[in-house]
């Protein structure tokens, strides 16, 4: 079974890190849009359709918490993972208060991030993946 291709919104202001993460997610078969600040991230989100979002917290113009609050205030339940260097307890609490799905600290193991994404995608029954590879022998599962 291989990972299905998903649309992921990555909002990250760090050039090197953002480029590396986008690249790795693309290597894993996902489509990744990468705006570089919170305000642009919100307008990109509203104009697209995403299976999951990965947000940094400390960003120019609009931080990750505010971005999440704005998305959630519109009733949107797209899974959101925070990927941030901020590790203090208050920050984590704030992250879950704005109804994020997960909170990962930098630096992190990229495989863990991929597995978390996969778990989210498997739980999420509302979005239809573009491809499905559930083939067992001569049988194809829908």
């Amino acid at each position: 079974m291989s990972l299905a291709k998903r649309n992921i919104l990555l909002v990250e202001d760090e050039e090197n890190f953002g480029s590396l993460l986008q690249n790795y997610l693309q290597l894993s078969g996902h489509e990744v849009d990468w705006p570089k600040d919170g305000a642009t991230g919100f307008s990109t989100f509203m104009s697209g359709k995403y299976d999951a979002c990965i947000f940094d917290v400390m960003m120019p113009h609009m931080d990750g918490f505010e971005l999440t609050e704005k998305i959630r205030s519109r009733g949107n339940q797209t899974p959101i993972i925070f990927l941030t260097a901020k590790k203090m307890r208050e920050d984590m609490i704030r992250g879950y208060e704005v109804v994020a799905d997960n909170y990962l600290n930098k630096p992190f193991d990229i495989e863990i991030l991929l597995l978390k994404l996969e778990a989210i995608f498997m739980r999420d029954g509302s979005s239809t993946p573009e491809e499905s590879n559930f083939d067992i022998g001569q049988f194809h599962l829908l």
Binding site: E14, N23, Y24, G38, M58, K86, P107, D109
Partner: protein, 515 residues
């Protein structure tokens, strides 16, 4: 603490108010006592005059009674006493205790004086003026007969009755009243200036010649009154003594002033301590906030490159990359770049720590300041170009040779120029100039960036200070740059100052001494 402080102030105020009210009440009591004393004094004066004129003085009157008393107990049946007119008055008492009437004349007015002895223990002296009814002026038992004050009191009552219809000026002078009032008030410890007036109750007007210069006939709280002549505590004339004060502050505050001053002092001291505590709490809170901000920044600035290095390493290991040398090379470049970034951050923090503990080793040598400035400008030129900015350099001197640590001085100018880029807006323009005066060289770096608030200007050189932006991370930094600049310039015996206007730009002036 605020509640306690308010409670203390409220209690202090109440205590002072209460103390003042008590003192004012005491003032009223003392004035009234003084006026009673004045009334008694004036009455005593009249009695004294009567006794002197009628009996030749109090001693003479006393002696007469003593004589009378002595004789009563003797077997003699006659009693004699003399007046100052040397008229001998003989009174015979028989064994039955009956009295005999004696007629004598004093001042041309017939008086009859009757000494009545109703019993062994009692003596009565009756006096009768022509045309008047007999009245008892002395009615004493044996013990009282030797009592000076009782005799005087009895005689006084008689004189008031005798003189109550006389004019005021015939009875007492204004001077006498003023002296009596002054004496009585002084005795009560009251030194406030006073105005006096005698008012006729029947006409409701002040008596001519009996009002002091500042006296104002009105009814108010500072006006005290007392019947001038009384008999058995009732007014025996229409004259009322009025006394006015121009305030009673001296008396009211004299007793409590030291305590009030001390109370105020201690309250102010508590307020100062409270204020300082608040200041200290807010300062600590600000320090804590700055510390947290610094930790957050530090964490972000160090962990992000570490995350990049981790991702780059994971990317290199990816099956799709491991066979691709170009991609591997790209990721290795990123790893090196991020490693340098981490190193730069660590070095900066260590430099600041070393400056703090004065451990930083400075390497001074005589070098050309213009060259140092040019090096900084060259370092930063790429960044300026990246934001489509412009840098103008203007040198008003040809040479500026000073003792300097080249490495740190380059960092200083680079830091300031970097701030101009970091805090810029569109169409960045930076002006760098260098000039000299008699004692120093002056480098001015001026930009048209976003500027800063007045409050931030005061704190700009404080270590770790950055304007609060929460998680909005538009411009990266630890808040160490300007602190570093100041420390290095001061190590060069120079000065640095900053001027800024929000949305207009910032100017940094650095003075370095010629040496």
């Amino acid at each position: 603490m605020v509640i306690s402080l308010l409670g203390i102030i409220v209690l202090q105020t109440k205590w002072v108010s209460s103390a003042v009210a008590e003192r004012e009440k005491e003032f009223d009591n003392r004035v009234n006592n003084a006026l009673n004393e004045v009334s008694n004094l004036i009455g005593e004066d009249e009695a004294t005059v009567f006794i002197r004129e009628e009996f030749g003085g109090m001693d003479s009157l006393m002696q007469n009674f003593l004589v009378i008393k002595d004789e009563i107990h003797s077997e003699s049946d006659s009693i004699e006493f003399e007046t100052h007119q040397s008229q001998r008055i003989q009174i015979s008492i028989d064994n039955n205790g009956e009295s005999h009437e004696i007629i004598r004349e004093v001042h041309g007015v017939p008086h009859s004086m009757e000494l009545h002895h109703p019993s062994e223990k009692e003596i009565e002296l009756l006096i009768q003026e022509e045309g008047q009814e007999r009245q008892t002026i002395i009615d004493l038992n044996e013990r009282e007969a030797t009592n000076f004050d009782h005799i005087r009191s009895a005689v006084k009552s008689y004189t008031f009755g005798k003189w109550h219809s006389q004019n005021l000026e015939d009875r007492v002078s204004m001077t006498s009243i003023e002296k009596s009032v002054e004496k009585a008030l002084s005795k009560e410890g009251i030194d406030e200036s006073v105005e006096i007036g005698i008012v006729n109750r029947e006409t409701s007007k002040p008596e001519d010649g009996y009002i002091s210069e500042g006296f104002q006939f009105s009814k108010d709280d500072n006006n005290y009154t007392k019947d001038l002549f009384t008999l058995n505590n009732r007014a025996s004339s229409p004259y009322v003594l009025n006394v006015q004060f121009n305030g009673n502050d001296d008396f009211v505050w004299s007793g409590i002033r030291p305590l009030v001053i001390l109370s105020i002092l201690f309250t102010v001291l508590i307020l100062i301590c409270f204020g300082y505590s608040l200041y200290f709490i807010f300062k600590q809170k600000r320090i804590s906030q700055i510390k947290n901000d610094f930790i957050n920044n530090m964490t972000h600035e160090l962990k992000t490159p570490l995350a990049s290095i981790s991702l780059a390493a994971a990317s290199i290991s990816h099956p799709k990359v491991i066979e691709n040398p170009n991609e591997i090379s790209r990721f290795v470049t990123v790893i090196k770049s991020e490693e340098q970034r981490i190193n730069a951050h660590v070095e900066r923090v260590l430099d600041i720590a070393a400056l703090d503990s004065r451990d930083l080793k400075m390497d001074f040598e005589r070098l050309e300041l213009l060259d140092v400035l040019q090096t900084s400008i060259s370092t930063i030129q790429l960044s300026i170009n990246a934001v489509d900015g412009v840098l103008n350099f203007n040198s008003m001197i040809k040479s500026a040779s000073i003792e300097e640590d080249e490495f740190h001085l380059v960092n200083v100018f680079t830091n300031v120029l970097d701030n101009s880029i970091k805090y810029s807006k569109a169409n960045l323009e930076i002006d760098v100039s260098i000039s000299e005066n008699e004692n120093s060289y002056c480098v001015i770096i001026s930009d048209n960036g976003i500027g800063m608030r007045k409050k931030s200007q005061k704190l700009a050189f404080d270590k770790f200070y950055r304007e609060e932006t929460g998680n909005i991370h538009t411009r990266k930094g630890f808040g160490l740059g300007l602190s570093y600049v100041k420390s290095i310039i001061e190590a060069h015996q120079g000065e640095v100052e900053l001027e800024s206007e929000l949305n207009k730009g910032t100017t940094v002036r650095i003075r370095l001494p010629k040496n």
